[in-house]
Symmetry: C2
Subunit: 438 residues, 2 copies
């Protein structure tokens, strides 16, 4: 492949001879002329095939065939990339003799009723240029998140996913035999990232987590990539909210400045954000929702899915923001490691970030007083001596500063940025109750 | 923490008053004077404590106590960071009343006989400034690997770790109940990254893999971070070797240009590398080793650990390189997805990279012809219809270019760069047969 030219570089070679290599993506007969479309990692190029002996090389071969095409680069404004290859010579690198089980040269249906086909044929379907764009955007989202963390002096960590005990809850964990003992898969790096605040003050981790949730919604999977951040030596939740506002703004700005054309091809709508993401309290949301719909949710300890959508619409109308924080959750429903608000202990120092109608992350300040944490753990029946808690508590026993953080799903964030219906569409090989392959 | 100054920024504030916040790291009485050392994420600073009433605030408090110190920044060349804080006022943020189970204000023993203590108290031990450096270097290694992949147009992917079937071998996998079915944990993203070559040509993944190896060596863990790269449209193994040579060189250059002082504190020796990493064949290695030691390994299909060390010493003496490729492995011992050499089918297109005496990665060209791959799979008794193989084979049935790649352990690479004895020392919370916590 020494003299291989990438498709994206062809316009620079107009009038010259060039060799490209890629996959046969499309064949068409237009007004008696044979056209091929070849795909490489940078794009598609059309090839005008007139020579019968060259045409013959494709006898019995199907789309997907890997080949090198050497020919004249010809500028043609009507051609998809502005250039075509004329007078080609073909060299078949890998012959494909079977017809693909799905057509990948046109958009692949994402409708719920076609999901079985979409995911069963994922290996091939991802070769569709539109599908490819989704995961290029996802890689970009991750890249900009990493940039933001790094520029704020967060240290990248890797914590184990094989654990002795469930960290939270207990029912929704995968269990396995581990050299004669029982191990579980991490549902979150929650405890570890907090422990690491005692080491580096600011840490982040981007890695898989596992949830054995027997649910089949558009939001859940049993394996996803969790983006976790945790920061110490802050005094209030507001500082976590500010940090995350900055991150979401940064990611979106970078995306639309560096990947505008890809986002447009995916019909992604530019994200409307304010520099400071607006906030309402849960009580305010319940009231507003009650006034607007006459549906009484005022005793709910969490916003309902309908309220999440409502909050989003409200924020967009009132502040021009597609993101909004819901704050002041009741302490009675908080996790044992959350911190109660110092001024109003009935309220937890927790917020949910709603983005385009759905909750994408929970932020909170964590209880950092050893004795308080111990009693909050014991109040939910947790055993401080248990291997799942012992080392976590040790971090607090020997000094932890006030700290807080958040965790969000990379796929869900990407899904909402692009505007996909289901989080699985933003996952290369999704895992749910039914699906373990491909 | 609005007016908090980081320790690293103190020298700029000589003569002024500043507030720092961190952990009480050390206390000492020197010639009747009380000194404190406080740690924050940027370093250590010494505080001269003369005022009795301030000293009293520390009554009953232990190392690890979180506090804010406000005082005069005083330049003193004898002080560790070139400055001290004088006339301090202390504010206790989190009081620590218990004495830590290990001393973290001096280097922590990494001797094998102290590993139980080292890893049992990891949560606290990592607060030692030397331990911290190890994982800052590891984060830097990962950063520069990512930079290298990205600058060579590799796309960052995430592939599932929950699988229907073992991808290779079968014995050394963790198995678990998955909604009534059996799932296994990925030992490698091998099949997925190859499938993704059909999509993006060049992909990389950095994520956990799981090995149920019942071994307790200095090289193995049951969970580690695998750095995987895979590139298509190459014709020979040499191109993978070249790419990886470039990456290792890039990482080491960046490390020693950006983190020299940390590496020196860890007593890491600069890595000696040639731009092109030298190569010897396995047969040559066996012969050289036989001549040097009179030990006959010439029938071995892999280099022995002693030969790996020998190869490293040989490369250092002959070429001034601490890295060397061993090439031309026998095809009879290759994995089913490896490609045989076209000119000499008795040889597999595979190489091992030996770095500082130990194999850090296997590189290979993969068989990309569908029929050949099928028969190589069937020759080892694999069932092509099995969910673990079906979708993988599909990628080849519908067209795969020649490709190759490699996978290496982030922790092992970091271990060898720093010069640690055991890979677990380069792992925040290592997992082995005995250890599932912390």
């Amino acid at each position: 492949m020494k003299n291989r030219v990438l498709v994206a570089d062809l316009p620079k070679l107009a009038g010259k001879t060039a060799s490209i290599s890629g996959w046969l993506y499309k064949r068409r007969l237009l007004g008696g002329l044979n056209f091929l479309v070849v795909r490489d990692r940078t794009g598609l190029v059309q090839i005008l095939l007139e020579d019968e002996s060259e045409l013959k090389k494709l006898d019995g071969l199907q789309l997907g065939t890997v080949l090198t095409v050497t020919g004249e680069v010809f500028t043609d404004d009507r051609a998809p990339g502005g250039v075509e290859i004329h007078k080609p010579q073909l060299e078949i690198l890998t012959a494909v003799k079977d017809v693909m089980p799905i057509e990948i040269d046109k958009p692949i249906s994402h409708k719920p009723e076609h999901h079985a086909t979409l995911f069963e044929n994922r290996t091939i379907g991802l070769r569709n240029t539109n599908e490819q764009l989704i995961f290029k955007i996802e890689a970009a989202v991750e890249r900009y998140i990493r940039e933001y963390f790094e520029s704020h002096n967060f240290v990248n960590i890797h914590t184990p996913k094989l654990l002795a005990e469930p960290t939270e809850g207990g029912a929704e964990v995968f269990k396995m035999d581990y050299f004669g003992k029982t191990a579980t898969l991490a549902q979150s790096p929650q405890f570890y990232k907090q422990m690491m605040v005692g080491v580096y003050e600011r840490v982040y981790e981007i890695g898989p987590v596992y949830r054995a949730e027997p649910s089949t919604t558009t939001r859940h999977m049993s394996e996803y990539i969790s983006v976790d951040g945790e920061m110490g030596f802050i005094t209030q939740l507001e500082e976590v909210c500010e940090f995350l506002s900055g991150m979401i703004n940064y990611v979106c700005e970078k995306l639309w400045s560096k990947h505008k054309s890809e986002l447009e091809k995916l019909q992604a709508k530019p994200v409307k954000l304010t520099k400071k993401i607006p906030e309402i309290t849960l009580a305010e949301l319940h009231e507003l929702y009650f006034k607007a719909t006459n549906e009484d949710t005022r005793n709910e300890k969490d916003p309902t899915p309908a309220e999440e959508r409502f909050a989003s619409e409200y924020a967009l109308k009132k502040w021009g923001s597609e993101a909004i924080y819901i704050t002041e959750f009741p302490a009675s429903a908080m996790k044992f490691y959350h911190r109660k608000n110092a001024k109003n202990p009935k309220v937890a120092d927790r917020a949910d970030l709603i983005f385009r109608g759905v909750e994408i992350t929970t932020l909170s300040m964590r209880e950092n007083n050893y004795q308080t944490l111990l009693s909050q753990l014991e109040a939910i029946g947790g055993d401080p001596k248990h291997p799942g808690f012992k080392h976590y508590l040790q971090a607090f026993q020997y000094g932890m500063p006030a700290h807080g953080g958040f965790g969000l799903g990379l796929e869900r964030l990407t899904q909402k940025i692009i505007g996909l219906e289901n989080v699985k569409e933003a996952t290369l090989f999704p895992r749910d109750m039914q699906r373990l392959a491909p």
